[in-house]
């Protein structure tokens, strides 16, 4: 069963300022604060006036110490509008509202774990943002959202190559096949042909 080498697996790159943009919208989660701070510092150096049209939506990670201070650092660096959130749904709701009010010329920057990037991209896609309007840098956990192709439930925070589906209890093999629309990797029943026979379960998405 082909698990790796699949083209739909997203590729990320370090965030860079896109000086062609008029408005800059940045989303960060947890350790994603550091790349955001880096890009904001770059922006101050090469296009300081862009900070006036920059917004940051940030979700501090309560488990990590020191990360909460990022929100303060963004403001100190000169970002016009910084908002901190207590949970992903709240942040994404605000993100959706902002996109509905945004104009052409907006650039999106996302930094955080892949699952967070995926959820943000899913919403950006609804607003027809293309690759040349979005930059994303992955950092933090590689835990996956896994979509069960049998019952269509999505299992969150998957760290293992094989996982039990939260919807139908099947053992799912986690593939590299990624859906931008669903913001999830595909999970396929692992022991369909030989019930109970599973490959070793290992933590692979750390």
């Amino acid at each position: 069963m082909l698990v790796t080498g699949i083209k739909s697996k997203p590729v990320y790159a370090p965030l860079q300022v896109d000086t062609r943009g008029r408005y800059h919208l940045m989303l960060g989660m947890g350790v994603g604060g550091a790349p955001l701070l880096r890009v904001i510092t770059d922006m101050r150096a090469i296009a300081a006036q862009s900070l006036l049209s920059t917004r940051v939506l940030f979700l501090p990670d309560s488990a990590a110490t020191g990360v909460a201070a990022h929100a303060v650092q963004f403001e100190t660096a000169g970002v016009a509008d910084v908002q901190a959130f207590s949970g992903t749904p709240q942040l994404l709701d605000r993100f959706r509202t902002l996109l509905s009010q945004s104009l052409m010329g907006t650039r999106l920057y996302v930094a955080g774990p892949e699952s967070f990037i995926g959820l943000a991209m899913k919403i950006a896609l609804e607003f027809n943002l293309n690759k040349d309007e979005i930059r994303a840098e992955e950092c933090g956990t590689l835990a996956r959202r896994v979509y069960c192709i049998h019952c269509r439930a999505t299992t969150e925070n998957v760290r293992t190559n094989i996982v039990r589906c939260v919807g139908c209890d099947r053992w799912l093999l986690v593939r590299d096949h990624y859906s931008r629309r669903l913001a999830a990797y595909m999970g396929v029943m692992a022991d369909a042909e030989a019930p109970g026979e599973l490959p070793p379960i290992k933590e692979v998405f750390l």
């Binding site: 008029r22 104009l103 943002l129 293309n130």
Partner: protein, 320 residues
């Protein structure tokens, strides 16, 4: 694309719609339906003159749901190499022409949240077909159409009847110009802009959109360049082992074809990149007239688009 794949059509209607533009209806001689196409597509019309062959691209302006006949609009070019004059002067109702299958290099973005269409003069033609896909009203759109004067406003009645207040007209002789800044400064996220018209208009729209931060993927344009005339030159085709003379008023592609060598093509207007040809040897300069190669690629001199580009100098060897 090659000539074995053409369709024979008969001219079943001609209407002079403005002092410079004629509207042609082309029906298949064999009867039945023409190939399906999408709004923004063009066809190549093959014009057999006694002394030479012209193959010019024209946008289809008829509805994609109407396949018993295609409709095109042809503007008489002042400095025509002969193609548009042939269509205007020699082609009559009943004339037969060969056409190539439609190709779309100017399609609407299927998941756009809004479309802004900008036309200058004869550049209205691809939009007439595209608009057919926008009538259901699920995606907002607006059309900005600029012409010299009222008598040059081709297909305006047809547009008014169908599009109503979605059309914004600008007449040069009344001093009206499209307010590019206002138009492009405040469009909602997910808007796509499309422009077809004179080179200056296209350049201005692209430049203004970029100034306002539009990414390239949301800017669409189409301009078929007629192959410019230039000095005569010689070219050697390495694989075919033939030497070809390119006269001043014939394109490199036309000259190669006249020598019996086939080059794959789609648009013949410097847009699609299909006739991209490797330059093996060059003593002199390439005169790039296409919109396909980047400035860096043009400077390298390693490739050429023979549909519109030429060469100056002593020797040119192509990988054909």
């Amino acid at each position: 694309m090659n000539d074995a794949q053409t369709i024979t059509v008969q001219v079943v209607g001609i209407e002079q719609v403005t002092p410079l533009i004629k509207h042609f209806k082309l029906a298949p001689v064999a009867g039945g339906s023409l190939p399906v196409f999408s709004g923004g597509s063009h066809i190549i019309v093959v014009m057999q003159r006694t002394d030479r062959v012209h193959k010019n691209p024209y946008s289809l302006l008829s509805s994609p749901s109407q396949l018993d006949a295609y409709e095109i609009g042809v503007r008489r070019m002042e400095e025509s190499r002969g193609g548009s004059h042939f269509m205007h002067d020699a082609v009559k109702v009943g004339s037969r022409l060969e056409i190539a299958h439609p190709v779309n290099l100017f399609a609407l973005d299927k998941i756009a949240r809004k479309h802004v269409l900008i036309a200058g003069g004869i550049g209205i033609t691809p939009f007439l077909a595209q608009l057919e896909d926008l009538h259901d009203g699920s995606v907002p759109y607006e059309l900005h159409y600029s012409v010299r004067s009222a008598e040059h406003a081709a297909f305006l009645e047809r547009l008014r009847r169908r599009e109503g207040d979605k059309i914004h007209m600008y007449y040069d002789d009344a001093g009206l110009t499209i307010p590019y800044q206002e138009l492009l400064a405040a469009q909602p996220l997910g808007t796509h802009v499309y422009v077809c018209g004179p080179a200056g208009m296209i350049k201005h729209v692209i430049g203004t959109a970029q100034t306002w931060g539009w990414p390239d993927s949301h800017i669409h344009w189409e301009q078929f360049s007629a192959p410019p005339v230039g000095d005569a030159f010689e070219v050697f085709l390495a694989r075919s082992k033939v030497s070809v003379h390119v006269p001043p008023d014939q394109s490199l592609l036309e000259s190669i074809e006249a020598a019996g060598v086939e080059v794959p093509y789609l648009c013949r207007g410097g847009v699609c990149g299909f006739c991209h040809t490797k330059v093996l040897e060059l003593d002199g300069e390439l005169v790039h007239n296409d919109h396909f190669l980047s400035e860096a690629e043009k400077a390298k001199g390693k490739s050429i688009m023979p549909c519109v580009s030429r060469a100056q100098g002593k020797r040119l060897v192509l990988d054909l």
